[in-house]
Each structure stands twice: as structure tokens, then as C-alpha cells.
């Protein structure tokens, strides 16, 4: 029997606000334990939450970017459970009335472009973290992360392959980062993903029994875990067995999913509206203002690059990986007017320099204007492509402009016939044997003469000019 996987993803994105969702504490990562805390996020008696407006704004942005309906009235609920990293004994989340609902994003895989539905996007607070003592039977609680704002994005069960799941994840990731509402760091946990996956016989409407996968902290792991889990479920079903509804953890080292250890208790979270928070009423004008100020999203940008710059799809994809890179590229094009050459330089040498140093484009030492100027100098024939390679390295190293470097190193290309003719004459005179052979029909030796002229000019001669002059003078 042929099975069809049904996959839905739940994404938790930590929002890039300066302060927590219900108090004024910092959201900064890596501070000493329990230093970013106050009575409110510590859940002390009698304290009350006050909603951070930025969290609402950021979530509206994501809702708009993923074609969701923004619910004009939405509200918070309490999710009740006991755990030492949850100081109030409940998490403030949204349940019956999320901020955004019924959206979608387009994702592209080798199978083509598909629309993946988004059921809801809601706001909630993060919990703290437990630190277990390795040498002593004790655990410690760090509540710095408690109350850090999260956005939960729940997809519809529309995803059909592991590859598509990864593509969906990348799409949401790039939107979040483009909107500058999440740093997207998967290792630090600011972008987390859980997956629900089940199989059903192809053509069947009804869903099969699903498992929930956790502990996948990279795009690649999400794809690998899903690939594994799909195969595992298929094996179980084909063997006449039944999939057990459970939570499974991805084991990266072994490349398998394993049932979460310990007895799993059926949780009843006893959600109910949080009486400490009032209905969040969203002003329509505010939503419009946010919409007006939305940046261009990656997919739109990619399409515009194809259309306006005539560059290949691959280039458009690379150049729009981040908003800053796209902005940089566009600035170079604006100043030099050569989209394809600019793309080659940005994607080639520049990204190589940056990657080697693990540096962000925002910290690139070469200003877009310098790169554009260098491209213009190549186009004008002032420098050769080979010289440009050296110059760009020097620009990256020193931050200097191309003209300054050319001047310092005397790198200007010889484009003057009058200057080049005596050099060529000397080269010809010094190589009588080769001259005779060339004139005798050994055409390949033309290259030898070009090389000799280049050598004599320390590579500064314009290659095209050398060609022209040599042809005439060797004849």
C-alpha cells in the first residue's frame, strides 16, 4: 500500500523585544542566573502582568506577512501545570482567542510551489530553565528566560514531505528575520520547531495516528527526523502494526527518533481566560500603519530581482537570503548599473571573505559605494579583472576605496598605445626564435607573447590592447 505523510509544524519564535512580555525585565541572553528577574516574572504573590505593546506589534507583523486575519479582539488564557521552571504554576498564553488566524505561505521544493496553511499565530510567555547539578542530586532554577515573549505559529496539516517541511521552516525563518522580530538563532533556542506526523493510505481522507517530534534544533535535523519517522511509521504499518500516539525525541547522534522516556502523563491544562489581563482590542488604524510600514518580504524581493535585474533565479535566491545583503547588492547596482557583474562580485569574492571571517554583511568593511566604484573601473578598463581581485582583497582588509589602493600600489592599467608599443617592441626583439616560429605558423605562441608583455608591465597592461597591438606588430 502506498502511504501519504501528513505533517504539521508548531514553531516557537522568540521575539526581539528589549523587555519581557509582562514586565520590564531585559530579554538579554546569557546573563548570570536569575539576574533578569523581578517580582512579576518570579510569580510572587499579588503581582500582576501588563502586556508589552511591542509583542502585539511584532505578532501583527508576522500575521500580515503570512496572510492571516488579525483578530480585532483577542485575549490571554492560563495554561495550568506544575513545573519548577514555571513560577506561577501557569503559563500565560492565548487559547480560544489568538491574535492571528487563517493564513498561509507559499513554499517551493523540487516538486514545485505549494501553499501551506497557517491555522493560528499567538503570543505567550516562555518558561525558565532547570540546571541539574552533575555532582550532587540537586537542580537549580534559572528564571531569566521566564516571561520572554514567544510567538507560536501553528501550520495546518498541509505538509506532505520532509523536504517540504524544511522548506516551510526556512520560509517562516526568513520572514521572521526579514521582519526583524526574531533573530532566528536555532542553537540558542530562539527559533524552535516541533512536528506532528502521521501516515495515511494515499487517497484516504481521514488522518492516521500521529506522533509528535521534538528536539530538532536545525533545519537539517527537522528534515532528517521527519524522513526517519515517516520510514519508521511506514514500517510499523506495513508490518500490520499500529502507530502509538506519543512524543518522540530526535536523537541526532544515532539518527533516530525515540519515545520520550518516563511515563507520559495525560495533561489537562485547564485553560481559562486570564482574569488579570483584559481583552486585547486591536485598533484597525494601527494594523494599517503596521501594514504600510512592512518591509518587502523575501519572496517578493526575489521576484522583483528576477524582473528588474535580469539575474538568474539562483543569484536572486542567494542575494535575498537576508535583508541586509539584498540592500547591499541593490546599492551596488544603483551606483554601478551592472546587475549581473555586481551579483558575481557580491556572491563571489565578497561572500567568500565574509564567510571566512564569519562576519555579517552588516559589518562588511567594503562599503557598497567602493565595490560599485571598482566595478566601474573594470568596465572603463582602468583596471583588469585580475587586478580587481587583488584590489577587492585589499579593500576588505583595509576598508580603503579602490582608487586609493590603485594609487598607492601604482596599479593603473596601461591603456595608452604610445606607452605599450615600446614595451612590445622590446619583447619581440628579445625573442627572435619564438618570432620566427610564430611567423612560421605556430599560432599558439601568440599567448607566449601576451604573457611576456604582461610580465614586462607587471600585469598592468590592458589585455585587449595587448592583443590588438601584438596582432599588428607580430604580423
Amino acid at each position: 500500500m502506498e502511504f501519504e505523510p501528513v505533517i504539521g509544524l508548531e514553531i516557537h519564535a522568540q521575539l526581539l523585544t528589549a523587555s519581557k512580555i509582562f514586565c520590564g525585565c531585559s530579554t538579554g541572553f546569557g546573563a548570570p542566573p536569575n539576574t533578569h528577574t523581578c517580582p512579576v516574572c518570579l510569580g510572587m504573590p499579588g503581582v500582576l502582568p501588563v502586556l508589552n505593546r511591542k509583542v502585539v506589534e511584532f505578532t501583527i507583523k508576522m500575521g500580515l506577512a503570512t496572510n492571516c486575519r488579525i483578530n480585532r479582539e483577542n485575549g490571554f488564557a492560563r495554561k495550568n501545570y506544575f513545573y519548577p521552571d514555571l513560577p506561577k504554576g501557569y503559563q500565560i498564553s492565548q487559547y480560544a482567542y489568538p491574535l492571528a488566524e487563517d493564513g498561509y505561505v507559499e513554499v517551493e521544493t523540487e516538486a514545485g510551489r505549494r501553499r501551506i496553511g497557517i491555522i493560528r499565530i499567538h503570543m505567550e510567555e516562555d518558561a525558565g530553565k532547570l540546571i541539574h547539578d552533575e555532582h550532587f542530586p540537586a537542580s537549580y532554577v534559572d528564571l531569566n528566560r521566564t516571561g520572554v515573549p514567544l510567538m507560536e505559529i501553528v501550520s495546518a496539516p498541509d505538509i506532505r514531505t520532509a523536504e517540504e517541511a524544511a522548506a516551510y521552516l526556512r520560509r517562516l525563518h526568513e520572514i521572521l528575520v526579514y521582519l526583524e522580530i526574531c533573530d532566528g538563532n536555532m542553537e540558542e533556542g530562539s527559533f524552535r520547531c516541533d512536528a506532528n506526523v502521521s501516515l495515511r493510505p494515499r487517497g484516504q481522507e481521514e488522518f492516521g495516528i500521529r506522533t509528535e517530534l521534538k528536539n530538532m534544533n536545525s533545519f537539517r535535523n527537522v528534515q532528517r527526523a521527519l524522513e526517519y519517522e515517516i520510514k519508521r511509521q511506514q514500517y510499523v504499518l506495513e508490518g500490520g502494526g499500529e502507530v502509538i500516539q506519543e512524543t518522540r525525541l530526535w536523537d541526532d547522534a544515532q539518527g533516530v527518533t525515540l519515545p520520550m522516556r518516563g511515563k507520559e502523563e495525560a495533561h489537562d491544562y485547564r485553560y481559562f481566560p486570564d482574569p488579570d489581563l483584559v481583552t486585547v482590542a486591536i485598533d484597525a488604524e494601527w494594523v494599517e500603519e503596521i501594514r504600510r510600514n512592512m518591509p518587502e518580504l523575501p519572496l517578493e524581493k526575489r521576484e522583483r530581482f528576477l524582473r528588474d535585474y535580469g539575474i538568474p533565479a539562483y543569484d536572486a535566491g542567494v542575494l535575498t537570503m537576508s535583508r541586509a545583503l539584498a540592500d547591499y547588492y541593490e546599492e551596488v547596482v544603483r551606483l554601478c548599473g551592472r546587475p549581473k557583474i555586481a551579483a558575481n562580485w557580491v556572491m563571489g569574492d565578497l561572500l567568500r571573505f565574509l564567510n571566512e571571517d564569519r562576519r555579517d554583511i552588516k559589518d562588511c568593511p567594503i562599503p557598497a559605494a567602493s565595490l560599485a566604484e571598482m566595478i566601474r573601473l573594470i568596465e572603463e578598463g582602468t583596471i583588469s579583472g585580475k587586478m580587481a581581485k587583488e584590489i577587492s582583497e585589499e579593500m576588505y582588509r583595509t576598508g580603503k576605496g579602490p582608487k586609493e589602493i590603485i594609487e598607492e600600489q601604482g596599479l593603473v592599467q596601461i591603456t595608452d598605445e604610445a606607452a605599450l608599443i615600446p614595451v612590445i617592441e622590446k619583447v619581440i626583439a628579445a625573442n627572435p626564435t619564438q618570432l620566427a616560429q610564430y611567423r612560421g605558423g605556430k599560432d599558439k605562441l601568440f599567448g607566449y607573447f601576451v604573457g611576456q608583455v604582461m610580465k614586462a608591465t607587471q600585469g598592468k597592461a590592458n589585455p585587449q590592447l595587448i592583443n590588438e597591438l601584438l596582432k599588428k606588430m607580430l604580423a
Partner: protein, 493 residues
């Protein structure tokens, strides 16, 4: 008369005139505490040292002529109000050692107004009770009859004011916890509109019902305290940003032309005949004073108690989840593992009534029961609110008894939770509807126990309650009546 027997406004006059010092007033109150606290047990914690410092600062301010609303006035705080650096127990073993690093907003406001804090008043554990018998720290006794309860949950605050162990006090009211003990102790108690007084720093029982309010010896003092504690607080999302009127300006408006609604559902079997007679006599006095009585109906009254005992425990079950032995408060000493620590800490840290309500609340929120209980209760609550909206089209204030009976005996209802819950049957509706209410003394039973008259008004109409209460107090000369009973009947005098 001893200074401790005076009201806030009487002491204000004497302090400002320089006749007495804040230190004199505090010394007088503490002499009184020394004399009667053994019998009454109104306090969980006395704040003698900090009070002395506050009184000294008040005297310094008075010397400089920097007089504020409550400069030098000794006030007791229900031990549910967080006080920076001072134990706040909420009447529970589980918070027996809890010292908040912050003040409740009301405490900040009282401090800023120059008040002197005498101590933290006793209360039913987590404000769950109507008799102050569920406190981990022992029972408070009614100053009018030491064999009887003072009402609850703010019984310590009410008893402290009635026994002159402070000049005024703060309490909190979730289903009648200010008004009922005020009635049973013969003092004035007001529950303001939900959102009028900040809940920040008030240890939560039922967040959508809780409200802080004053206990005072007369209505004028009630207005003075309300002027200090009312107002918007940006630290509370449910706080309402509406201008606070000068409540004193309502004191002398009288009742001529005031329409007083008499809800037939509040004068029913189960109301003690003496209480009923006293309240009816009070209404007659108001009519004589020019008020017009209108019979009104609040048709959903019979559901109030049921709705309350779903909504309040539901919220409580969640609000009290934080007391888990992990971060602060009581932790069972010898737990085997995490789950055992939770179970032992909460089993021994909470008393029976609190556990009963946590269990009820957990049950009504459970999957499969939510719609039948919590959701249905929320819907009926909306109808109860609508009843009041309709009623206040016909009248300005509503008059009812505050409590169906006068103070009952200690232990009389502790084994019968339902009987205990009925103590609040006349006060709960105001919390469900979010409207303000006041209880003012209106007489005594043949046994010399105080009886309370309750006025209710529309949202943010505390001024009308002050107006009706002050007018009644004057027309019926209740201050004189109380003074006479004090001399003749109060066992402490």
C-alpha cells in the same frame, strides 16, 4: 476620651492644631492593643518599630507644616496586602515566612499620605472564609462578644477597628469579606468598584472579584481613605483610568430625592427577623429624610452563590498554584522527589478550606466539565451584571441587609461549609457584577450584636454610597448609638 477612640478626621484636627503628636496617638493605640489584643487577636504581626519610625516622621512633617491626608494616623493592614520587608502571610502557613520585596500599590499610597502602620491584621486563610476561623494563626474574636466570630475574611481588620486597636484599616472583599465583617463588628466597610483601587500587591484569591477597601469608624473616614487609595494604576491591567472625585464632597448631600431600590429577592426567608426589622427601620428613616423607595427586582439573585462558588474557586485554583515550595514560603522538609515535595508542601501548607476550594476549582476547569461549570457560570454572571444595570435605571442606590444574621458563635459553622457560604449570600452579587457596596451600622440585636445596612450603587458610583451612608448615619444618629452600646455592652470597655 482616649485618642484611640477617635476617628481619622477628629485626629486630623488635633494633630494639625498641634494638640497631640503622632507619637501620642500611636502610643495610645498601642496601649489599647496591649490591653485588649489578648482577647481579640486581631493581628497576625504587629509593626511596633516601623510604626514608631513612621510616627516620628509624621511629627517631623507636622512640625514642617507638610501635612498630608493621613499624616500620623495609625492604620492596620489586612495581611493580604504586601508590605516591603514585612512578613505577609495571607493567614496561611504556606506564606508564614514570606517577606515581599515590594509594597502593594495601596500600601505605597498610604505611606505617601503619611499613614502609620500598626500591623498586619488576621484573616481567613487566603481570604477564604466568612469568620476568620480558617487562619493558620488562630481565630479572631468579635469585640462585641468574645465568644463570637468577627465575620470574614477581613475579620482582623474589622475587629481591630471595632476594638480601637487602630483608627482605620484596609481589608479586601471577594464575596463580602469587607462588608460582612464590618456589619458584624459595627463599623463602616466599603468594597469599591472593581478596577477603582489597585490590586497590585494584593495576594490574589479570585482575580476577577478581589477588591481592596477601607474599614472605618464612620462614613467620613471612609471617604477620607477612599480619597487616598482610589485611582488608576498602570501596574494593573484591570485598573480603570477614570477620574477620582473628592469623596468628602458627598458627605453632606443628604438623601432628599434619592431613589432607593429595595430588591425583593434580598428580603427573604433565611434573613434573621431582627436583622430584617432593623434594616426595614433604617429604610424608613431614609424615607423620612426625603429618599424615595422603589421596589426593584434582581431576578438572577438565586444563582449568585452557585456562580460565585464556581468562578472564585476556579480562579483560586490557578492563583494558588504558585505556592509549590520551590521559590518562597513553606517547603515540606523531607520530600523524596519533586512530585513528593509538591504534594507534601501543599498538603501541609494549606488548610482544609483552601484545599476544598482548590479541588472545586480544579474540577470545574477540567476538560469535559469546563462548559458545564465555568463557562455556564460566566454566562450567568453576565446576566447578574445585567440585572444591576437594569435596576440602576430605576434607582440610585440599592438598600439591603449586609449579612443575613448577626455574628454567630465560634465553631458554629466550621463543620458545615454550605451554611458558612450562606453568610455571604447578600454581598456576593456586588463582586460578580463589579459594583461598589458599603456596609454601615444600623442597629443592634437584643443580644447587643451589631447589624449592618448595605448600600449598592452602579459602577464608579462610590460617591452615592458615601452620600447615602453619611446621610443615614446622621439621620439615625448611629455614632451616638454605637457610643452608648460601647459603654454599656462591649466586654472590652
Amino acid at each position: 476620651m482616649e485618642l484611640y477612640g477617635l476617628t481619622v478626621h477628629e485626629l486630623q484636627d488635633k494633630l494639625r492644631a498641634g494638640e497631640v503628636t503622632a507619637a501620642d496617638v500611636l502610643a495610645s493605640v498601642y496601649r489599647r492593643i496591649a490591653a485588649v489584643e489578648d482577647k481579640v487577636h486581631a493581628y497576625i504581626t504587629l509593626m511596633k518599630e516601623t510604626a514608631a519610625a513612621q510616627a516620628a516622621a509624621a511629627d517631623e512633617a507636622l512640625r514642617r507644616g507638610e501635612v498630608r491626608e493621613l499624616t500620623g494616623i495609625p492604620i492596620a493592614l489586612k495581611d493580604i496586602c504586601c508590605t516591603r520587608g514585612m512578613t505577609t502571610t495571607c493567614g496561611s502557613r504556606i506564606l508564614g515566612n514570606f517577606v515581599p520585596p515590594y509594597d502593594a500599590t495601596v500600601v505605597e499610597k498610604l505611606r505617601a499620605a503619611g499613614a502609620v502602620f500598626t500591623g498586619k491584621a488576621n484573616m481567613d486563610e487566603f481570604a477564604m472564609g466568612s469568620s476568620t476561623e480558617t487562619s493558620w494563626f488562630g481565630v479572631t474574636r468579635n469585640p462585641w462578644d468574645l465568644e463570637r466570630i468577627p465575620g470574614g475574611s477581613s475579620g482582623g481588620s474589622a475587629a481591630a477597628v471595632a476594638a480601637d486597636e487602630c483608627i482605620a484599616a484596609l481589608g479586601s472583599d471577594t464575596g463580602g469579606s469587607i462588608r460582612q465583617p464590618a456589619a458584624l463588628c459595627g463599623v463602616v466597610g466599603m468594597k469599591p468598584t472593581y478596577g477603582r483601587v489597585s490590586r497590585f500587591g494584593l495576594v490574589a484569591f479570585a482575580s476577577s472579584l478581589d477588591q481592596i477597601g477601607p474599614f472605618t469608624k464612620d462614613v467620613e473616614d471612609c471617604a477620607i481613605l477612599m480619597n487616598v487609595i482610589a485611582g488608576y494604576d498602570p501596574r494593573e491591567s484591570t485598573s480603570v483610568n477614570i477620574e477620582v472625585p473628592d469623596y468628602r464632597s458627598f458627605l453632606d448631600r443628604g438623601v432628599a430625592g434619592l431613589r432607593i431600590g429595595i430588591p425583593k429577592e434580598y428580603f427573604i426567608a433565611g434573613i434573621d427577623p431582627e436583622v430584617r426589622a432593623s434594616v426595614e427601620a433604617a429604610i424608613a428613616v431614609l424615607e423620612k429624610g426625603g429618599a424615595r423607595c422603589v421596589e426593584i427586582s434582581l431576578p438572577h439573585t438565586e444563582y449568585c452563590l452557585a456562580v460565585y462558588y464556581i468562578v472564585a474557586p476556579a480562579e483560586a485554583s490557578s492563583n494558588l498554584a504558585r505556592y509549590d515550595g520551590v521559590k518562597y514560603g513553606f517547603r515540606a522538609a523531607e520530600a523524596r522527589d519533586l512530585m513528593d515535595m509538591y504534594k507534601q508542601s501543599r498538603s501541609t501548607g494549606f488548610g482544609a478550606e483552601v484545599k476544598r476550594r482548590i479541588i472545586i476549582g480544579t474540577y470545574v476547569l477540567s476538560s469535559g466539565y469546563y462548559d458545564a461549570y465555568y463557562k455556564k457560570a460566566s454566562q450567568v454572571r453576565a446576566l447578574i451584571r445585567r440585572d444591576f444595570d437594569a435596576a440602576f435605571q430605576q434607582c440610585d442606590v440599592i438598600a439591603t441587609p449586609t449579612s443575613p444574621t448577626a455574628a454567630f458563635r465560634i465553631g458554629e459553622r466550621t463543620d458545615d461549609p454550605l451554611q458558612m457560604y450562606l453568610s455571604d449570600i447578600l454581598t456576593i452579587s456586588a463582586n460578580l457584577a463589579g459594583i461598589p457596596g458599603i456596609s454601615v451600622p444600623c442597629g443592634f440585636t437584643r443580644d447587643g450584636l451589631p447589624i449592618g445596612l448595605q448600600f449598592l450603587a452602579g459602577h464608579f458610583q462610590e460617591g452615592l454610597l458615601i452620600q447615602a451612608g453619611a446621610a443615614y448615619e446622621k439621620l439615625a444618629a448611629t455614632r451616638d448609638l454605637i457610643a452608648r452600646y460601647r459603654r454599656e455592652k462591649m466586654p472590652l470597655s
